[in-house]
């Protein structure tokens, strides 16, 4: 039965890609094999349009223990400890079902952390919605925030920071980027590798259902007007089962029973088994008949592509199956051997004794197509950079303007959001949400670490290269004003349709700017995610390369927070104030303009300013510090006056 043309199209596989598949297999693929190729070669799993440009980001550094290519990045922070962190996007599912889309986004990013052997200790998120008056925005915000709270609070990992941003370019496509950070002993890092031919492959966690089938390719599909019919593919999360899965896995990590582990994320059982085998050049043999199921009559196609949540795949040392099974049963979880590691480099799927699919692992991983998509400088750029200053007359009432800015959706207090997140569980949160970065102490040491997630997408729209560099510089500033030394980056690159040359140009330019800033500020990228096709009926989102960054504080007593502390203290502004108003929040809120020349960024000056600030805080002579971002100096000083919990304190600026 050869595969029909429309089945191939429906799987998002192009003519050329189909011919490649024929070459890899030396025969026609069956329906299950087409399904496997379609998810493994989807944009989400293969990064086929972004890989050529991702190569230009720096990923090495003396403290980098694991860079991109694994489930999360790992950096050394001394005292025999390492930080594990990553950011992941769940944009499309959240637009369809906000609560479950956001909740499963949190569940997925947590699994990426503890699959490396680490206990997750913090969650952050970066959310972007349409304008506040857009009919869908209210429902989306409520659902997404409740989903993040519902999942994060239940599993007991504090949600300590993040950002929320409203802009019309996200009217048709909200962004939900979830970041998680974990701590692991340097010598107990686990990796997603199918090591040891003959070792059993064990399925642990919830049973498999039909949810989320083709979630991976859905993420790579452009939403048409009636995007909603994709409903049945939304996954439902169970944070209670994830908590059991977390504790059971942490128990297994204290033993030497396993050689590899990976969570089942996008493309579920398929991507986890293929990627684990691919990393070590082994093959893997799976029998779908052994996979625990939640529904009857599921075809191999459904079992292999299901994205049911809270499931992990383990490679167990031969003979330790019962020991591992015992640990999971203690936590009332399924733990079943469903296959074994082979040496023939093939991904072979059985159903009982019949073979239903057989594909070379390399065809699915290294063999995935790579596209050097055409680039074209967008036409809008020259127009958007023109700003007729005559239109921008000086306001009569500066106080009124400041109050309007402080009340505007992108600057006002986020307390109504983060008070729904348990941000204190685990009693490590030293600096609570509300400032640029959250700070957590490391019990047993007098160190702490700071985390932030940040991006100004308007700068990236009017000048992608400078905007990309500013995204990195601003994230670093957030850490530095807390007194933390920036160490490494995880990025979530949210863009429109890569098949449109101007979007691809935005992507390339943003990454070029990010790469320069990462190199200059010596913060390598150790993990990340690419989310493309964020576009509805031809209108793409603003380029949003969200930057998550982690920094280290050597002495938890020597930190700074945003609020002014005492009368008589001196306010110092470090850096140059240039005559730059392009792309500012002031222009947007007061004059409704999204235009102008993007503020310039002098990376060597930036580096000097950041190290001066760090040295001052380290010398204990700084009580509070704040970076100037949306709303500029006026908003920064105002926020420092009103954000303390001992009531407002005044300030005079000469």
């Amino acid at each position: 039965m050869s595969i029909s043309k429309d089945i191939i199209d429906e799987h998002g596989i192009t003519e050329a890609e189909y011919l490649e598949i024929l070459k890899h297999l030396g025969r026609e693929p069956n329906l299950l094999e087409i399904g496997i190729f379609s998810v493994m070669w989807s944009e989400h799993c293969s990064y086929k349009s972004s890989r050529p440009h991702l190569k230009r980001l720096p990923t090495e550094g003396p403290h980098v223990l694991q860079g991109p290519g694994e489930n999360a990045g790992v950096i050394d922070i001394g005292d025999g400890l390492a930080l594990v962190f990553k950011v992941e996007s769940h944009n499309h599912p959240s637009y369809i079902e906000p609560y479950q889309g956001a909740a499963t986004g949190v569940g997925g990013i947590l699994r990426d952390i503890f699959t490396m052997g680490a206990r997750p200790v913090a969650l952050l998120n970066s959310l972007r919605f349409g304008t506040v008056d857009h009919p869908r925005t209210h429902g989306l915000v409520d659902g997404v925030v409740a989903g993040i709270a519902g999942y994060g609070n239940c599993i007991g990992v504090p949600t300590v920071g993040g950002e929320v941003y409203f802009h019309e370019s996200y009217n048709g496509n909200c962004l939900v980027n979830a970041m998680a950070v974990g701590v692991v002993k340097r010598d107990r890092i686990f990796r997603g590798r199918a090591e040891g031919v003959g070792n059993p492959v064990m399925y642990v966690g919830s049973k498999t259902g039909r949810d989320g089938i083709h979630g991976a390719t859905m993420a790579s599909d452009v939403f048409g007007e009636g995007g909603e019919e994709r409903r049945p593919t939304v996954q439902v999360g169970d944070p209670f089962t994830e908590k059991l899965l977390l504790e059971a896995c942490l128990e297994v990590f204290r033993t030497d029973y396993i050689t590899g582990i990976q969570d089942m994320g996008a493309a579920g059982l398929t991507s986890s088994s293929v990627e684990m085998a691919g990393r070590v050049g082994n093959g893997i043999d799976i029998d779908v008949a052994l996979v625990p199921r939640r529904e009857e009559g599921m075809a191999p196609y459904e079992v292999m592509l299901s994205e049911s949540q809270e499931r992990m795949l383990l490679v167990v040392k031969k003979g330790c199956e019962e020991d591992v099974g015992g640990i999971f049963r203690k936590w009332d979880l399924d733990a079943v051997v469903i296959g074994e590691v082979t040496g023939d480099g093939l991904f072979r799927i059985r159903e009982g004794d019949g073979i239903v699919a057989e594909i070379p692992v390399r065809a699915l991983t290294d063999g995935a197509p790579v596209y050097d998509r055409p680039l074209e400088r967008p036409a809008y750029l020259d127009e958007v950079r023109r700003l007729d200053m005559a239109v921008v007359e000086e306001p009569a009432d500066f106080n009124g303007v400041l109050l309007e800015l402080l009340a505007s959706p992108n600057i006002c207090s986020r307390e109504w959001i983060y008070s729904q997140y348990d941000h204190m569980v685990r009693t490590d949160t030293v600096v609570l949400p509300g400032y640029g970065a959250a700070v957590l102490r490391i019990k047993g040491t007098n160190k702490a670490f700071a985390m932030t997630i940040d991006c100004n997408s308007r700068y990236c729209y009017i000048d992608p290269r400078t905007g990309g560099a500013i995204a990195v510089a601003e994230a670093a500033r957030n850490l530095v004003v807390a007194g933390a030394r920036p160490l490494a980056v995880t990025d979530c690159l949210n863009f429109g349709n890569p098949e449109r040359p101007e979007i691809m140009w935005q992507f390339k330019e943003c990454l070029a700017g990010m790469g320069e800033a990462c190199r200059e500020l010596s913060v390598p990228v150790v993990s990340g995610n690419v989310s493309l096709y964020n576009e509805t009926s031809g209108t793409a989102i603003y380029p949003t390369p969200t930057v998550g960054m982690v920094g280290l504080i050597d002495d938890v007593m020597l930190i700074a927070t945003q609020p002014f502390k005492a009368e008589g203290d001196v306010i110092v502004l470090i850096g140059e104030t240039r005559d730059e108003i392009g792309g500012s929040e002031y222009l947007k809120v007061i004059h409704g303009l999204d235009r102008g020349v993007c503020p310039s960024l002098d990376l060597s000056l930036e580096k000097g300013i950041q190290s001066a600030c760090l040295r001052a805080i380290g010398a204990g002579i700084v009580r509070s510090a704040h970076d100037c971002s949306e709303g500029g100096l006026a908003v920064a000083v105002a926020e420092s006056c009103i954000s303390g919990d001992q009531g407002a304190i005044g300030a005079t600026v000469k």
Partner: protein, 79 residues
């Protein structure tokens, strides 16, 4: 008119709460309980007009607010 609305999860949609309660009942000795699902029961009074008028109103309320069309089904009784 007394209205009772029953909101249930669509078939195939995972019901973590139902799963946990079923497991608890089994551990309490009720081994033979199967397919336990938990939904919402919404009761209200809508005074006034005809049966069709009320039916149309309840339909609209469920579509717009009370049921999440992505993962829930609804039905109702009016008397």
């Amino acid at each position: 008119m007394k209205v009772e609305i029953f909101i249930t999860l669509k078939k195939g949609v995972l019901d973590p709460q139902g799963k946990a309660v079923e497991r608890a009942l089994k551990s309490m000795g009720y081994e033979d309980v199967k397919d336990l699902r938990i939904g919402k029961l919404i009761e209200m009074e809508i005074p006034g007009d005809s049966m069709e008028g009320t039916e149309r109103k309840v339909q609209e309320m469920c579509e717009k607010l009370l049921a999440n069309p992505v993962i829930e089904d609804y039905n109702f009784k009016i008397d």
